[in-house]
Amino acid sequence: MNKKELMNNKYFIAALFLLPAVIFSLVYLIIPIPLSTYYSFFKWDGIGAMEFLGLDNWSKLLSDPIFWSSMANNFKLVLISLVVQIPIALFLAVLLTRKIKGASFFKTIFFVPMLLSSIAVAFLWRYMYDPTFGLINSFLNLVGLEQLTRSWLGNSDIAFYSASAPIQWRFIPLYMIIFMAAISNIPKQLYEAAEIDGANNWQSFFYVTLPMLRSTVVNASVLIIVGSLKYFAMIFALTGGGPNHASELMATYLYTKSFTEMNMGYGSTISVALFLVALIVSVVFLNFSKKDVRN
């Protein structure tokens, strides 16, 4: 084939257009997964020689209580985020889409947490949680609730919940905006019809707004579920998974094993497990939500 024929061949042209994207995706997204799986069969510190272990890392993983508790924490985070973020975001979106003065001012400020990096949010909250100088304990002391003050991040019973709070704080505005956009797309006639039928605000919320937002709520839930299963940054910066693994997530555990303890073989095993958990849950939930939307 000469050059001219080649340039007229649509398969060749399509391949040229796709090539850069395919290279980036293969090297940095796709190949790492089988590569991680391969590493998971070895004992390896990341630099030296690799020692074949067969399935040892995998059997160790299955009997590793810290891995299971970190996975449980991921699912707790899913649950907390669903229960906290969706209702609050929906509530704020409903308030802000009503005709009130200053709505755009409130919206502008409410969105700001989304602009901050997870690391910045984590440290901001660390200082609010500080047992001696923090905002929260100082406030409790001021209003005479000394008995409620505690070491928010140092107490292993509550560290995970304390570390989850800033995640909610940062991501509520994202879903608030999504719900606001969806609410403003609901045809006004539906509300007028409901009003003529004598519906009050609550009724028009439950019989008009909520059903019309069904697919948006499902989409937001998918984002929250997938995001919470692979969450890392804020917990890593706030507690590093501590104290004593109380706030450990799969991703923080895999980081500590791989890059602090330099046990990359076992770290890869956790990586693949994290990938599989995220994959299975997304596939199951996406199937479920597709059916839901079709009904």
Partner: protein, 276 residues
């Protein structure tokens, strides 16, 4: 009736003010304490105003080399976003306009990339980066950044190109223009609004990215802003007002951008979620 409406309004404003306090006060806390000197922070309650405003913390943070992190973040983010736009626009054009039989499959495979947790890829990427000789170089971050942003960018741009009427290209094809010319002269100018959305979406996401830099760079001169803040806190965490100053400086660029481009930023940051 008017009374009831007034009451309803009042209730709405009460709820909104409560959330305003929850969202806004931590930010006020951040700014007001960044102007205190260390001893004053220990002496007075956290909500007190600084005894006298001092820029001392700001000067100290900048002197510590913190400004390098801004420059590094800007370089890495802008180069990455430029590459993302070119690469994803090329791929989206092929998926949307060239009928090569596997369009649908290729598209779905790209989108499936969104399902991959980036932390599952950290060890292989660390290894790949080492063997390419890029470890502890700013350029080490560009490859992962581009790959990480591709799925959503291809998704937004393909959707947009699909909506462009085909007639615009037909005449050019009849005239014998090449695909590259059509892409450059007809498609690219038309997708400018979508490119702006993709650029803002990725810029904000990558500006706040952390994990890749944590794993792929080590020396202070190669730190991007999020990692720089993380290390700064590790070194100066005891000096709370100083660390709060570094924190405030690190979030300032996006907040300033937000002041000027609010609607674009909100649209850009929620684009992936809205359409996904």
């Amino acid at each position: 009736m008017i009374m009831i409406n007034k009451l309803k309004q009042l209730v709405i404003y009460i709820f909104l003010s409560v959330w305003l306090l929850i969202t806004g006060y931590p930010l006020v806390f951040l700014v007001q304490n960044s102007f205190k000197i260390r001893m004053e922070f220990f002496r007075n309650p956290v909500w007190s105003l600084p005894e006298k405003f001092t820029w001392q913390n700001y000067i100290e943070v900048m002197k510590s080399g913190f400004y390098i992190y801004f420059i590094n973040s800007i370089i890495v983010c802008f180069i990455s976003v430029a590459i993302i736009i070119i690469v994803s626009a090329l791929a989206s054009y092929a998926i949307s306009r060239i009928d090569f039989k596997f369009n649908k499959i290729v598209y779905i495979l790209f989108l499936a990339g969104m399902m991959i947790p980036i932390h599952s890829t950290l060890i292989p990427i660390y290894k790949i980066t080492l063997s390419m000789g890029l470890y502890d170089k700013l350029s080490a971050l560009i490859g992962p950044y581009v790959a990480f942003s591709l799925p959503i960018s291809v998704f937004i741009l393909t959707g947009f190109i699909n909506d462009i009427p085909y007639e615009l290209e037909e005449a050019a094809i009849i005239d014998g223009a090449s695909r590259f010319r059509i892409f450059r002269d007809i498609i690219l100018p038309l997708v400018k609004p979508a490119i702006a959305t993709v650029a803002i979406y990725n810029l904000t996401l990558l500006w706040n990215q952390f994990a890749y830099a944590l794993v792929l760079t080590s020396s202070p001169s190669k730190r991007i802003l999020t990692l720089g803040l993380f290390e700064f806190q590790g070194q100066h965490g005891i000096n709370i007002p100083l660390t709060l100053t570094a924190l405030f400086l690190s979030v300032l660029p996006l907040i300033l951008l937000y002041v000027f481009l609010q609607e674009h930023i909100i649209k850009g940051m929620t684009a992936g979620a809205l359409k996904g």
